[in-house]
Symmetry: C2
Subunit: 479 residues, 2 copies
């Protein structure tokens, strides 16, 4: 027998409910033949969401550079021999716009998809991200502060970036980072792993999960009283798991709060395209000239892109703080971390480039791109509305906040005494096949119960399962 | 001014020479117009190595599943209208073998490249890896112990896997991991970041960088005397940076040593295809029925694949040890780490699948695949030989060990007094454009000087630069 090994207790104790016991039970049930519906995770293409054709056309072409010329030849043959190709249609061919773009990307990448890039990612992609951020935030000329490509890192999804930052900020066991409750468990897990302290703050559920100075100050004061050295604050906007979108004042409150207490802001803004008509403002925009350190995360996994498997993402940094006791800058130390991982994956990098540079208006792929984008977003919106409606027919269920991101986080007010939302979600899964995550997996105010549902399954699936959920629910709470 | 922030000192102090000051200087010189030659890093496609067509054909097809049928249509049109396609050739079309394989992969992936997979990677890929390992090690029927797909994790390159394991093993500041000197600085960096102790052991340079029990026991005893709790040993075979390939007895010695002291073996075997005719034996094969925990790393970045940018890799685990004081198994805790990262990138996963499952003998892509594979490997071998020959013409330079991996690690015996290998490499870069890494970046016996050169540039480049290096060298040491 091998001897028992003492393993880093922070990792042993770390939890990640999104892939925890309920999804694991769902995997078992699926293997036993049950039709399960994976609403536990924001993984849209696993539930039938189609990739954006434009993105995939480019990725496809880049894998074999010689294939670009071949497509040009095929386009030429098709023009000259209409009859030969009569059973194929435009969708079977690649537009000159895409082919030219691929040539352009390959010339800028220099070494194709097969080589390690600069550890932060290629400069031309970081420049495109900076331009995207500036355009998004209305930075022009002297209006606003431009994003700096030197302070952008491409990463394997946004998670990797979050871990880099948290690993740096936690210098010893007394250091803490504020996270919203409920939160996306990446943050609690990363803080736990780094050996730091999780400092909870509580958005106001009944005010649509908004934030205010009082709630932030309370959490901060309480942490300081326990001897915690608070270093930063995580804000997820639009939020995961609640789906809520913060109003301007909440964002401003966080910035002022961070400035007053010398905190770093980690702004998880990966759902910035999942707005469904609501207004959203970035931290970078509202930061203005305040010298608060800001790390803004974005990803190709969400929005209308939904390319989770390709693991594209980036972090954009503003006002990186000086490091106490070192001549190295914050960016230099972050660069060392990226170096040890060599670079993020190149298809994910290119996808990030495409995400921040949509096809030009009027170009060949433009119309289809817009159509596909709108289809994804309006479909998500419609599905959120269907679920909200169903929640309205469940006894003792309330759901607060504007609908953003990919999630609803209803509160379950009338669970039978002695049962938890974990019990409820497990039973819901076993009865209906619907796999959600218990609110306790994200953290919640003591005495409350919730669940998170990703509004991703096809409408037909929802039409079928929602009545069964309502029935299940009303029977469950009547016990 | 933002206030100075105290950053995790382990990360501030961490070093990674492969992307350290000399490569950074090379980047500056390149920007100033100098023709630099990046021999600092094992990044073959950055230096002109061509990707294996078969791999890229599959990756290309998977990005747009509808494109598979389109290729079948094109193949049919070509058969019927030879004259229309007369200026295109076979290489412009995709074989039925590849198209069928793509259909098969997509049906097994279920959700395409765009969805998160199981955190360890899809089961069918882990099964293929297990089969590859068994075939490689001659496991058949009752002969040998088969690899277990449940104990395989796909990761973004092998580096991610190494970090998972090291982060788990370092439970407190007294824990240490043995690493060879010289070593690949991923290991020193990961141990440093985790807050553990680096325990150096010294392969015998003049005996071709082989290992023996005496050297291992000395290092162990010395570490224990300093109060270090040694948890594991890293072995890189074929080695980075020395390129040396361990003989069977060295591998057996490590296994016996690890067994006697209850250590975990981390076997970095990413260069297992870079052998140039030499014999190599895996740790898994020689482990036989000994219950020593083994973590074997492999990657798509090296070998003849050389797909660094795609970030494919895996770790295969044997005899995972029980965890002291926890009911969770080692694999369960490792799974939690993978979960927090969601999954590795899907193109990298598929590439790993292809790496462990070459096209079948006699299939359409087989001949080209073999031709390309042999071309890459024989080219690398020829380039290593060219550099070895040049080293032989440099005064006071010796280079030990069988040639494996992608590196040579010559010893510089006659550096002028007061100068270091760092000075030498910097001057070599500034004089000739050749970017190597100083031996001190990998660690070396006190009083010795080395450099690592990756034998990757095109032969024509080597023909041009090697005489200039010889000239530089002999003048430098004559000072």
């Amino acid at each position: 027998m091998p001897v028992g090994v003492k393993v880093n207790p922070n990792i042993v104790e770390m939890e990640y409910a999104v892939r925890g016991p309920i999804p694991q039970r769902a995997a078992e049930l699926k293997q036993q033949g049950m039709a399960t519906i994976a609403c536990n995770i924001g993984n849209p293409q696993a539930l039938g969401q189609q990739p954006i054709t434009f993105y995939r056309q480019v990725l496809r072409m880049l894998e074999i550079p010689a294939g670009i010329e071949r497509e040009r030849v095929l386009n030429g043959l098709r023009r000259r021999h209409r009859e030969v190709f009569q059973h194929m249609n435009d969708a079977d061919f690649v537009s000159d716009y895409v082919l030219d773009l691929c040539d352009d990307i390959l010339s800028k990448l220099e070494t194709g998809l097969g080589a390690y890039t600069e550890s932060r990612g290629p400069m031309f992609i970081r420049e495109a991200i900076a331009q995207f951020v500036d355009k998004r935030d209305g930075v022009t000329g002297s209006n606003g502060i431009p994003s700096d490509p030197e302070k952008i890192f491409l990463t394997n999804g946004a998670s990797e970036a979050a871990k880099y930052i948290i690993d740096m900020l936690i210098a010893d066991g007394g250091d803490g980072i504020m996270i919203p409750i409920p939160q996306y468990p990446l943050y609690s897990a990363a803080i736990k792993k780094a050996g730091g302290r999780q400092v909870n703050y509580y958005p106001d559920e009944e005010d649509g999960w908004t934030l205010n100075r009082t709630a932030l100050e309370e959490a901060f004061t309480d942490a300081v009283a326990r001897g915690t050295n608070v270093k930063g604050i995580v804000v997820i906007n639009p939020a995961n798991p609640t789906g809520a979108i913060l109003p301007e004042q909440s964002v401003r409150d966080v910035i002022d709060f961070a400035k007053e207490h010398g905190l770093v802001i980690i702004a998880d803004e990966v759902y910035q395209e999942n707005l469904y008509g609501a207004t959203w403002l970035s931290f970078a925009k509202l930061l203005e000239n305040k010298d608060v350190p800001l790390f803004s995360l974005h990803s190709t996994s969400k929005g209308f892109c939904g390319e989770c498997g390709h693991r594209g993402g980036y972090v954009e940094v503003r006002n990186p703080p000086p490091i106490e006791g070192s001549r190295l800058s914050f960016m230099e130390v972050m660069y060392k971390q990226a170096s040890v991982s060599l670079c993020s994956n190149t298809p994910g990098q290119v996808l990030t480039y495409l995400m921040v540079q949509a096809p030009k208006e009027g170009s060949e792929p433009y119309e289809q791109f817009v159509r596909e984008r709108e289809a994804v977003l309006s479909d998500l919106h419609a599905k959120a509305t269907m679920i909200r409606k169903a929640l309205g027919r469940m006894n003792g269920v309330e759901c607060f906040g504007r609908t953003g991101a990919m999630y609803l986080f209803p509160r379950l007010n009338r669970l039978p005494k002695g049962t938890t939302d974990f019990d409820y979600c497990m039973k819901l899964l076993e009865t209906t096949g619907l796999c959600t995550v218990n609110g306790s997996g994200f953290g919640q105010r003591e005495g409350t119960h919730h669940l998170r549902i990703a509004f991703l399954p096809p409408k037909t699936t929802l039409e079928e399962v929602l009545p069964r959920w309502i029935e299940f629910h009303n029977a469950y709470v009547a016990k």
